[in-house]
């Protein structure tokens, strides 16, 4: 009774067309069919947030979406964050502020924080904590992560005042 579909998704600007069973999650499609293993699976039931990706510009949990539902969609994963060979502002900030240890939650944390800063470029610490509360980190105690997100917001603000636009 396996129900196969052929889907096409654009991930980080590349077009992928492949077959998948209806039941294959988007996370597994990205990891297994597209070879994009940066998106992690920590629970497969929608709580840990490690699998967070952008689906048509909105951060979602890719373990709770079937790949077939993403047919035709534009997806961005952690592999698509860096700017050329350089880490982006948020990634740099995570490195400088020790916003990661094992790195397993990090892809989800980065995607979640990217959306948070897009919607709220000047978050308070409380807003950052609430904003990332849907991604579980077991290593850091969140201290470094909160600092990283706050610092990224700061440096983007500085970037705005210097260049007049958000990079």
């Amino acid at each position: 009774m396996s129900d196969k579909h052929t889907i096409t998704v654009t991930v980080n600007g590349h077009v992928y067309t492949d077959d998948c069973e209806a039941r294959m999650t988007l996370a597994d499609f990205l990891r297994r069919q597209c070879g994009l293993t940066g998106t992690h699976l920590g629970c497969e039931h929608g709580v840990c947030g490690a699998c967070t990706v952008f689906l048509d510009d909105v951060a979602v949990r890719s373990c709770l979406t079937f790949a077939v539902q993403a047919d035709g969609a534009r997806i961005k994963t952690v592999e698509g964050l860096a700017e050329g060979d350089e880490l982006n502002t948020l990634q740099k900030s995570f490195q400088e502020n020790h916003g990661l240890q094992c790195g397993f939650c990090t892809p989800g944390m980065l995607m979640c924080a990217t959306e948070l800063l897009r919607e709220n470029p000047n978050p308070t610490e409380t807003e950052v904590r609430e904003g990332i509360s849907g991604v579980l980190c077991r290593c850091t105690g969140y201290d470094g992560i909160v600092r990283s997100v706050m610092a990224a917001a700061d440096s983007r603000r500085d970037g705005v005042s210097e260049s007049g636009s958000i990079s």
Binding site: H45, C48, Q95, H98, I132, S133, T140
Partner: protein, 794 residues
């Protein structure tokens, strides 16, 4: 903040960001599940749905017929090839050791015990096949918890045992009975830490490739202890160690949980051998609650005797380790360590400490960061606060007056550990002045005036690290060693590679090793590569990456090897520069004559001379190549310590506790990397707050776990954890080159009892005493109600 003089170092002691971070931040690193090897298929394990039963029938025929299935095995298939799962810790003399095979053969003794396994084209199909396996269970009476296990008429897990007690032992110092008889004050309580687990966000996994034709077993394993795993694979599968290779990919968090040696590695090996394909077997989150080591589960009935002036005279009590249906890799090790550390940092001349290890129909007990010590900490920190209350003394002063003084070190604790060095009172002062500085006392006063229940908790902990002197570990019952070996190699281009048997689980082993080498040699940190995680190329480490060993033992070995390598580099430099080695220095990758910078050669020149153009460049007396090996077996363990303070608010109507702020004054000897060190402390504290307030395996009377999802097993999120502030003092470990002490477990040890202390303080007008963890809102509300209605709470 540090209380020691800043040293003029380039890398050591500096907040160097993680050298692996860029790949972790871009999704380009490789974790267990990211690996695909050619011809690989995927497995899944069928687990017992009941806690205690005899298996009367297993029919796998339908599963075998499912398209895409390669093989299905049961326990009976497995025992044809594999022996029982190993136990490496035997701390209790004459303990009855209950071992189990990786798959149950006739009896299941916990929910989640493996009964069959499938290898299929992918995990989806493998899980489909599990649903087609038919098993009949004949139920046996369930021993669901400790109290049931100890009841006089309890059903027995093992028919030929007299009861459910696997073993017991008593450690004594002085004369506890006499001390209690002469005491002015005795305080006591029953402390309960409910079960939880390490819960890395990456679950466990492996890929096993057992090639029967070459006789080689090639394993990718998400483990903290690759050398140990290789030994144990050899033991269980009767293979020569030399035919086994264990590699570790990037590890998504370990926390001790990935130290232990699990059935799945053996199951995957057997599936691979039979199907002649590499088999990936990953634990999913739901399985993890029954398949990964259960930890923390203990009860401590302890009491402390004091003189009216506050001098502690004695400590005695019984600790119950709630073991599972069979022993895990570390047996009763963690419960034993809880007893060994139950006197904490205090001088207690008279001790009588009993450990009872008890079997129940729960999953096997195993390792989790802190390894028993968090519960030792609950015993001494809760009791000392009870004593302070009863004596009407300051809880700070009572602690201080019972510390060993700095000149009393090395200090024998009375049970097993000798604490190497310490300035405990200074550390306490550092914390209390930080509390004052941060305005907590003021906040508490104001809060109370406004009717808020604000509390400040204190806790002092000791952390045994650098496990441990090999012969001592053997003597106390470890069937393994504790030394560490390292290779430091400069290549022909003058760049450095460090090879270690330790591995990195996110704690920064690679970064700190690179710092030590760059500092020790005088080369840029970019020139250092750290290689770990392959038993075929990396050296041997006893034990593994656990017991706060990486920075202490691996670090010491690196300091030693690097020192010798530098001397050789300078000797070669002396030949090239026609100078005396004594007059040379090595800095930023160049060997130069001190005071004459224009007279210098690069490490590339040195490498060229040691590997390629020896003639006229390498001194005749030197062997070619630039490599030093060091094996470091410590003379003693290290004991780091800290004073932790926690600010909380309690909602008296709901029992909810909000963590507002946290600080810790810490001494782990010499700190290699303060940025990473603080990260370790914060992460550990957050885990402890999870154990203190949120995380619990809840079982029903049938031994079913009712919290087997992230919806019900509650690891703290960013909104549950307070900000952290760390203060360091550095008292070097005298016997460790480099002076480092362990710090990986500090947070988990410190963070549970301090939650109790803070809640008690918030409710000091009621006289509540928190003795049970996690202290959930319903539990706390019950304590509050009892106190309000005048009932005693302890």
């Amino acid at each position: 903040m540090t209380t020691t003089e800043p040293q003029s170092t380039k890398y050591a002691g500096k907040p160097q960001p993680g050298i692996d971070d860029p790949s972790l931040l871009t999704g380009s690193s490789t974790y267990m599940d990211d690996i695909t090897v050619p011809r690989m298929i995927e497995g899944a394990v069928l687990r017992s749905p009941v806690a205690h039963a005899r298996i009367t029938r297993i029919d796998v025929s339908k599963a075998r017929e499912l398209p895409g299935v390669f093989d299905v095995i049961t326990g009976n298939d497995l025992v044809e090839i594999a022996g029982e799962q190993p136990v490496i810790w035997y701390p209790i003399p004459e303990q009855r050791i209950a071992r189990a095979h990786a798959l149950a053969t006739d009896t299941v003794r916990w929910v989640g015990q493996g009964v069959a396994a499938v290898a299929a084209v992918d995990r989806y199909v493998a899980e489909d096949a599990l649903e087609l396996i038919e098993v009949d269970y004949e139920p046996l009476p369930v021993v669901a918890d400790l109290e049931q296990a100890l009841a006089p008429d309890a059903p027995k897990l093992y028919e030929d045992w007299p009861d459910n007690v696997s073993g017991s032992m008593t450690l004594t110092a002085g004369d506890a009975d006499a001390a209690f008889a002469e005491a002015d004050v005795v305080v006591g309580a029953s402390f309960r830490h409910h079960p939880g687990y390490g819960c890395p966000i990456e679950t466990r996994g492996c890929i096993s490739n057992w090639d029967v034709f070459s006789g080689r077993l090639d394993v990718w394993l998400g483990t903290q202890s690759p050398n140990l795993a290789r030994e144990l694979f050899a033991q269980v599968l009767s293979l020569p160690v030399s035919k086994i290779r264990v590699r570790t990919p990037e590890i998504g968090g370990g926390f001790g949980l990935k130290f232990d040696f699990y059935p799945e590695g053996v199951i995957a090996a057997i599936l691979s051998r039979r199907s002649k394909r590499p088999v990936k077997l990953l634990e999913d989150r739901q399985e993890s609650f029954v398949a990964s080591s259960r930890s923390r589960d203990m009860r401590h009935d302890f009491e402390m005797a004091l003189r009216s002036d506050g001098t502690i005279l004695g400590l005695r009590g019984t600790a119950y380790g709630v073991l599972g249906g069979a022993l895990g890799t570390v047996g009763a090790g963690p419960p034993w360590a809880s007893v060994l550390t139950s006197m904490g940092p205090y001088k207690i001349p008279n001790q009588e400490l009993t450990l009872k290890a008890v079997m129940t129909n729960r999953s096997p007990y195993g390792s989790y960061r802190g390894w028993g010590v968090p519960k030792g900490n609950i015993v001494h920190e809760r009791l000392i606060e009870l004593a302070a209350r009863k004596l009407g003394m300051s809880r700070i002063e009572l602690r201080r007056m019972n510390f060993p003084a700095p000149d009393e070190f090395p200090y024998f604790s009375g049970a097993a550990f000798t604490f190497d060095s310490g300035r405990y009172a200074d550390c306490l002062d550092l914390a209390t002045s930080a509390v004052e500085e941060r305005g907590w006392n003021e906040l508490q006063r104001e809060g109370r005036e406004a009717g808020r229940s604000i509390g400040i908790g204190y806790g002092f902990h000791i952390e045994p690290g650098a496990y441990g002197p090999s012969r001592v570990l053997n003597m106390v019952g470890l069937d393994h060693s504790g030394f560490d070996e390292v290779y430091v190699r400069m290549d022909s281009a003058g760049k450095v590679t460090v090879l270690s048997g330790q591995i990195s689980t996110g704690q920064g082993t690679h970064t700190t090793y690179a710092q030590l080498v760059a500092e020790g040699l005088g080369v840029p940190i970019e020139d250092v590569t750290v290689v770990t995680g392959d038993t075929e190329s990396c050296p041997y480490t006893g034990y593994g990456t656990g017991g706060s060993r990486a920075a202490t033992l691996g670090g010491a070995a690196i300091v030693n090897a690097t020192g010798r390598l530098k001397a050789k580099i300078l000797r070669i430099g002396a030949e090239l520069l026609e100078a005396d080695p004594e007059d040379l220095e090595l800095d930023n990758g160049r060997v130069s004559v001190r005071g004459a910078a224009d007279s210098s050669v690069s490490t590339a020149d040195i490498g060229y001379s040691a590997y390629r153009m020896l003639n006229g460049r390498l001194p005749e007396s030197e062997t070619p190549t630039l490599e030093e090996v060091d094996v470091f077996d410590p003379a003693n363990m290290t004991t780091s310590y800290a004073c932790t303070a926690l600010l909380v608010e309690v909602d008296r109507q709901t029992g909810a506790v909000k963590l507002l702020d946290c600080l810790q004054a810490h001494d782990a000897g010499v700190i290699i990397n303060p940025l990473l060190a603080d990260g370790q402390l914060a992460g550990g504290l957050a885990q402890a707050f999870g154990g203190g307030l949120f995380e619990e395996f809840v079982y029903d009377d049938d031994g079913q776990i009712r919290t087997a999802s992230f919806m019900d097993y509650l690891i703290p999120s960013a909104t549950d954890i307070p900000p952290f502030h760390f203060y360091h003092q550095e008292t070097p470990a005298p016997h460790i080159p480099g002076g480092m002490k362990g710090l990986g477990e500090a947070g988990t040890i410190a963070g549970v009892s301090v939650v109790g202390s803070a809640i008690d303080d918030a409710l000091s007008d009621l006289g509540v005493t928190v003795c049970e963890f996690p202290m959930t809102p319903p539990r706390l509300l019950e304590l509050i109600r009892a106190a309000q209605s005048g009932e005693a709470t302890t």
